[in-house]
Assembly symmetry: C2
Homo-oligomer: 303 residues x 2
């Protein structure tokens, strides 16, 4: 049975697993000692400048340096929605990206106080992020379970670096049952930041959006989603307690362990509309399994 | 058939999933809208001081703050093997840990230049780490495939926060077929650091050791393993190109995608002794599957 892949046309941005720059073929041996060739993801350094000030050097797969740069600055509160960016210059050879704004920002003071967040951490000015969360009111919205199942099925079958080489995280900005912008990177913080940068650049209204991530629902992931103004966050991975607490405080709909027909919602349940007959949803076979934490972990859901 | 769990006696340190402090029970709904109770891992802040100097605030599950503190300082090159530590004070209420040394270190200069490494990143003084790698010569050692299969089977069946609540990384220090020290944390960098701290505190000879991680084999993970002086690094997850390159440069044995009977070795293959008949190894059933990336990802191995 040929698979219907016409939904791929829905994407505005999606992974390009064939891009030679993003992966390498390496040689090794397998469990029998036989030689194997395998694909691995390429990491490269990218040093970000805000005007003349060096901010950070990130390790990234290297696609979309412009969106990554913008998203990093946004999520570190060094740039705000509506701020003017006069230019973004990327030099591939120097591995440098420069974001230009009309005035200097006050980020230097903010850089002083760093908190490393859990999971994948970049050292964020944590107090600031919490402040920013308090100011945000997330919009009313709905999440139909039929959309949720359609989204996860589409995302799992979209050709990606994950399917090609593994060892990578993905984040997808979605509208209803349509995945729009699918970014991957070695760290999920980079993948989120690239989506945030894309949204900034295209001045996207986040109010009807759904954010999907392959990563865990940590405090960091919740804060970033809330800061982007997106009311629904979905993951196939699990939760941390603080992630749940923050989502409840912010009124974010938080759905985790979304695999096959199953999911668990631990915050903002009122946005969920149960319009899908669960019996008609296929469970994940090996073919669609992705970062599945397996049967053992699923036990935790039903206790 | 009752499972033989006597190997649990081998551990010097292992997860304590029953500790009330490490997890919380939260209420939500499942895919049918029915109420569920589920366990989630607790994250808490821990601020690390080296003498009077505040270094960083980390998010951690909060067990073993002493080992985490030592390991963080070691892996940031702020402390070296053989350095004298005069005391470690942990205040649970203040969420502060203080490591005391006889003299001030020169870490301030090092803090200036930060590189965020990929995957889970803490902003490490990257140039320093590379220097440290160049100075290290990893010992000759052997890794028998029979040990490897025994280790992964034991680790996957050890009661853990992972099995209890998911959304957590694990790192295990092993000797031959014996898992010795199994640390978990919300970020794998914390789990590694706790193992490194334990090794420092107990002045462990790393030369015959094997390091197992649930996380990906990024440059960061390779650098930390080499700095710990451990000659073999095993993961059930995949590789990044730079991780492979650094492992080859450092002469580290790098094994990834170790699940069931399968694995791929991409560096230091000469340490591997193929003493196990692969046909006698069980493939992972749902029961042993852990962060299995599923059939799709395994395709990448056999190309």
């Amino acid at each position: 049975m040929a698979q219907d892949l016409s939904f791929l046309d829905d994407y505005l941005v999606r992974p390009d697993p064939a891009a030679p720059r993003l992966g390498a073929t390496v040689h090794g041996i397998d469990q029998t000692g036989a030689p194997v060739e395998t694909r691995v993801v390429t990491e490269r350094a990218l040093t970000l400048y805000l005007n003349a000030q060096e901010i950070v050097t990130m390790m990234t797969i290297g696609d979309h340096p412009d969106y990554l740069a913008l998203g990093y600055l946004l999520n570190q509160n060094m740039l705000k929605r509506g701020d003017i960016v006069t230019g973004i210059d990327y030099d591939e050879e120097l591995e440098v990206v420069v974001v230009r704004t009309p005035e200097r920002s006050n980020f230097e003071a903010k850089l002083k106080k760093k908190t490393l967040t859990s999971g994948c951490a970049q050292g964020t000015a944590f107090g600031d992020l919490m402040e920013a969360i308090d100011e945000i009111e997330l919009p009313r919205a709905e999440l139909r379970t039929s959309w949720l199942y359609a989204l996860t099925r589409k995302i799992n079958t979209t050709p990606s670096l994950y399917l090609e080489a593994g060892a990578i995280h993905g984040c997808v900005l979605c509208a209803r049952d349509r995945p729009l912008v699918y970014m991957e990177d070695v760290g999920r913080h980079n993948a989120v930041d690239k989506v945030a940068g894309w949204m900034f650049q295209h001045d996207v209204d986040p109010s009807g959006m759904i954010f999907y991530t392959t990563g865990r629902l940590t405090s960091e992931m919740v804060i970033k989603t809330v800061r982007m103004g997106i009311p629904v966050l979905v993951s196939r991975s699990g939760f941390t307690e603080w992630g749940v607490e923050l989502a409840r405080k912010a009124g974010l709909t938080l759905i985790g362990r979304a695999r096959g027909k199953r999911f668990v919602a631990l915050a903002g349940e009122d946005r969920i509309v149960f319009d899908q007959d669960v019996d008609l949803v296929e469970d994940e076979g090996g073919k669609h399994r992705r970062k599945g934490e397996g049967a053992m972990n699923e036990r935790a859901e039903i206790r």
